[in-house]
């Protein structure tokens, strides 16, 4: 019944608009300004005068959004390189905001200033090498600065980390959860082979590799120490995922069949960040940022940045692969002895 009424309302609405348009067209042709011009002077005036109010409203909207959401944006970067990313971002933001404002102001202002009026004649101005050179060279200079600055930061972030000075760990992605693995006492991750995936061995770790025996596997949350480089490797079990840790300005895709890596140095512990954000419930988070299936939107893991002491204490409490998979490893050891 309601849908029938909806249809009737829509049909009547369309008919009403059609009638209104017809009435309007008849009345304008009666007034006699029909065949004069395709765009009447009053139309150009109306739209020309709309330009500046629209622009002001748009800018007001931008300012309002900035004002009301500035506290919702990501808090200050909790990693070393993230601070540089934020500075670079702000630098670029200033430049692009100037361009955005300047070009839009000129565009809308000219729209307002030069709308067609009686007696107005357009100026024949087809070409000016000087002007065109200016707006080729000036953007080129700014872009050169942006490129050089940006690449300097990029090279620094992506320059290889020294595994001996870093916490070596792995993030393993599958639909729809994360698992973390630490290199253990030898700080080296054991080999894997996807064909070994099993209920008892979800990360497909190769138990014949001795480096794997001391690996520590955790789910739900993982801890990292403050002020120490964390070298992360990424793997995926089924489809592409992306490990996104927005508070650390860190992201890397997890691709089946490939091992990718990213490293960063956290600088603020979870406890400190709770104070800084005045939010006792604050937590760092790892989320999936590459479409991966139905529960993509809720594929997360908690990250805790600890003081070095707390981190060591927490890590010591975690069981090693050998402790968890005793039977499997013993079997391998027996085979090796024989």
């Amino acid at each position: 019944m309601i849908s029938l009424l909806t249809y009737i309302a829509i049909i009547l609405g369309v008919i009403a608009i059609a009638r209104l348009v017809k009435v309007y067209e008849l009345s304008t042709s009666l007034k006699g300004n029909d065949n004069e011009e395709s765009v009447s002077e009053s139309d150009s005036r109306f739209n020309g005068r709309m330009m500046m109010p629209f622009l002001l409203a748009f800018f007001a909207f931008c300012i309002y959004l900035t004002y009301s959401y500035k506290d919702n944006l990501l808090p200050e970067s909790a990693s070393e390189h993230g601070v540089e990313i934020d500075t670079l971002f702000n630098f670029n933001l200033i430049i692009i905001t100037i361009v955005f404002v300047a070009v839009n102001v000129l565009l809308f202002y000219f729209g307002y200033k030069y709308y067609s009026k009686k007696g107005l004649k357009a100026t024949y101005f087809a070409h000016s090498t000087k002007l065109e050179l200016i707006w080729t060279i000036v953007p080129a200079i700014f872009l050169a600065v942006i490129i050089i600055y940006g690449l300097a930061v990029w090279n620094k972030i992506t320059s290889p980390a020294d595994p001996n000075k870093a916490v070596v760990m792995e993030l393993f992605a599958e639909q729809f959860k994360w698992t973390a693995r630490y290199g253990g006492s030898d700080n080296t991750l054991g080999e894997t082979n996807y064909k070994l995936t099993a209920d008892m061995n979800p990360l497909a770790i190769d138990s014949t590799d001795k480096h794997a025996w001391d690996d520590k596997i955790v789910s739900g949350e993982f801890h990292i120490p403050v002020n120490k480089t964390v070298l992360m490797y990424f793997r995926a079990k089924d489809v592409i995922h992306s490990a996104y840790m927005p508070h650390f300005r860190a992201q890397m895709n997890c691709v089946p069949g490939m091992r990718t890596e990213f490293h960063f140095t956290p600088t603020i512990t979870t406890a400190q960040m709770k104070e800084k954000t005045k939010n006792p419930d604050f937590d760092y988070v790892l989320l999936c940022n590459k479409i991966c299936g139905s529960t993509h939107w809720n594929m997360q893991m908690k990250i805790i940045v600890d003081s070095p002491e707390d981190y060591a204490k927490w890590l010591a409490e975690q069981k090693t692969f050998k402790e968890k998979n005793m039977a499997q490893v013993n079997l391998v050891e027996n085979i090796a002895i024989k």
Partner: protein, 606 residues
């Protein structure tokens, strides 16, 4: 050409008197099928493209409203969702998460390929290339017809794919494997994805037939005097677009074909070391990243395949309605060529965080940011064209001005995204969604509206209603910024795109009001398109009759009779004597001199 000569002496035979008045120039009484359906006339094919694109556009827009409802009011029941999507995909009116992904996927696919590639290029390249260069028709009318029918078939299959039981393709419009290859990973990768791939294969075939035709026509069928540097910028844009299409779409075809192999025949181009639904797949040695390289080798030129025609249309309309020559005609051509060239060597900026070599990333940063230079030249040239003009604000002109605004507003955030170091943190977030919807989505769709309003009289012999056009523009423009500008802020909060809901994260908990704001603007924008649809179809039959040259334009299409006439000009083809932008030329009585007017003594023809 033989067929034209042949048709000339036919009019006598079919001497219906009432008719022969309307169709004074329609020498050849065509049947319904050959005139409207299997037409080889570029003007009719252009209309076919336009109508198909309008239909697909309405579908894609409705899909976007469906998922915007979920994003603004997650988990709430909407009877409209259950009405359209059924009990399976919206049980009790609550959107299913898989259907959410399907909606964003099909929305993106339809908008990018069917509306803004097929619709925009198909409509205006077809309409304007022969008419503006002074040709009787496309080089091959038959291929042109095939081009549309491939497009129509692919549209039909894409539309049909929404109704299969396991749902349409839902791996995102970029269909990255393995997600798109494994039915076990997401139900949409079953029959839905197969249909997606078949549809895109046909789409590529149609697009290639069209593009080759456009290129050949522009190169070979220009009328006397129409040198390359006297071509309107529309034609330059369509020409370069067609070249981009010919060079890049085959790569998408290859990517799609290899994906079909992986899905159906057990090859492993993209698959390696996968364990899914309790089973280790046999495939090893492939690389999912290979697909991304192939996809974006098309995907990035595709952005300009979408944008360049819109920019070309804007150039034409801004010059005409400002009553001024386009500023820096040669610089505009140069920047179209530069953008076209650069668009082929920037695809890697979509892949900074796939684990690609960081040095390679740096190269792509460099090439990508270079594109900003020709883009800036274009933007400044548009603004300068307005300066000291005599601006007549037709709806088309408003959309052209709107395009310049969105092109700049969305373009500048591209500088952030192209900077690989910054991309680490904003990659795949709503910041990207904001960026490309403003710079590519809104700009291109504005270009399309601009073209429809401007050339409607040329297509249908009638005018669209200006007042409705103004209402349509201001509402749409407001809605575009209202929807997409706030998304920058959502992105900077770290919200990933393609999230069914933000409720799982404490980090995003304050964003609900902004999402409601966006959805409200989206609904306003969608309703505003009702004004356009009404205006479009109403004016087609009831609009005011158009005069020969309603916008006082200089280009050749306005010298051809309005009536549907196979061969475009009844007599000889017009001869071109000057460039297309002699507006308000000093020393002339009128403020425009059409291209076919001979030069007066000592006048410079450009």
């Amino acid at each position: 050409m033989g067929s034209h000569a042949h048709t000339l002496d036919h009019s006598e035979e079919h001497g219906h008197h009432d008719h022969s008045h309307d169709h004074a120039h329609d020498h050849h009484e065509q049947g319904f099928w050959s005139k409207y359906i299997f037409s080889t006339d570029h003007k009719m094919i252009s209309k076919q493209f336009l109508i198909t694109a309008v239909f697909m556009g309405v579908v894609a827009m409705m899909l976007s409203i469906f998922f915007r409802l979920q994003l603004a009011w997650p988990g709430q029941s909407f009877s409209i969702l259950e009405y359209f999507l059924g009990k399976k995909w919206a049980p009790n009116g609550v959107l299913d998460p898989n259907m959410y992904l399907a909606l964003v996927t099909i929305h993106g696919t339809i908008m990018v390929f069917f509306v803004l590639t097929g619709g925009l290029s198909g409509t205006f390249s077809n309409l304007l290339i022969p008419l503006q260069i002074g040709a009787r028709d496309m080089a091959s009318g038959f291929l042109n017809m095939l081009s549309f029918w491939f497009f129509a078939a692919s549209s039909l299959i894409m539309f049909y794919s929404m109704f299969v039981e396991t749902g349409p393709a839902s791996a995102g419009w970029t269909i990255y494997p393995p997600l798109s290859a494994l039915e076990e990973a997401i139900p949409g990768s079953g029959l839905g994805m197969t249909l997606w791939l078949v549809s895109m294969t046909l789409f590529v075939a149609g697009s290639l037939l069209g593009s080759i035709n456009y290129i050949v026509t522009v190169l070979n069928l220009r009328t006397k005097g129409m040198t390359m540097t006297r071509l309107p910028l529309t034609i330059w844009a369509f020409f370069v677009t067609a070249i981009l299409g010919v060079l890049s779409f085959p790569v998408l075809f290859a990517a799609v074909l290899l994906l079909i192999f992986d899905r159906s025949f057990g090859t492993s181009f993209y698959l390696s070391d996968i364990f899914v639904s309790g089973q280790a797949l046999e495939q090893t040695g492939g690389s999912p990243v290979l697909f991304q390289h192939l996809f974006w080798f098309l995907g990035h030129p595709e952005v300009y395949i979408v944008l360049l025609p819109a920019l070309g249309i804007t150039s034409e309309v801004i010059a005409t309605m400002s009553r001024k020559p386009i500023f820096g005609y040669r610089a505009m051509i140069g920047s179209i060529l530069a953008i076209g060239f650069l668009s082929f060597i920037v695809w890697g900026h979509h892949m900074f965080i796939t684990g690609m070599n960081p040095f390679l990333g740096s190269v792509f940063v460099f090439t990508t940011l270079l594109i900003a230079i020709p883009s800036a030249v274009k933007a400044f040239n548009y603004v300068t064209t307005l300066w000291k003009g005599n601006l007549k604000f037709s709806p088309a002109m408003l959309f052209a001005v709107g395009l310049v605004s969105t092109f700049v507003t969305g373009g500048v955030t591209g500088i952030i995204l192209a900077d690989s170091a910054l991309d680490i943190n904003v990659h795949d977030t709503y910041f990207v969604v904001a960026h490309f919807h403003i710079v590519m989505g809104a700009s291109a769709i504005f270009g399309m509206f601009c073209g429809v309003y401007h050339w409607f009289p040329r297509m249908f012999g009638r005018m669209m209603n200006n007042k409705l056009g103004y209402a349509h523009f201001w509402l749409t423009f407001t809605a575009v910024y209202g929807v997409f500008f706030p998304m920058h802020f959502i992105g900077l909060t770290g919200v990933p795109r393609r999230y069914y809901s933000n409720e799982a994260f404490a980090l995003f908990e304050n964003l609900q009001s902004i999402n409601i704001l966006i959805t409200v603007f989206a609904i306003i924008g969608a309703l505003a398109q009702g004004l356009f649809l009404f205006n479009f179809f109403y004016s087609m039959y009831r609009g005011k009759k158009a005069s020969q040259n309603p916008w006082n334009s200089t280009t050749l299409e306005w010298t051809a009779p309005v009536e549907h006439l196979h061969g475009n000009w009844p007599g000889e083809l017009p001869t071109v004597h000057r460039w297309p932008y002699d507006y308000s030329k000093p020393g002339k009585d009128v403020d425009f001199v059409p291209q076919d007017v001979p030069l007066s003594h000592g006048e410079d023809g450009h």
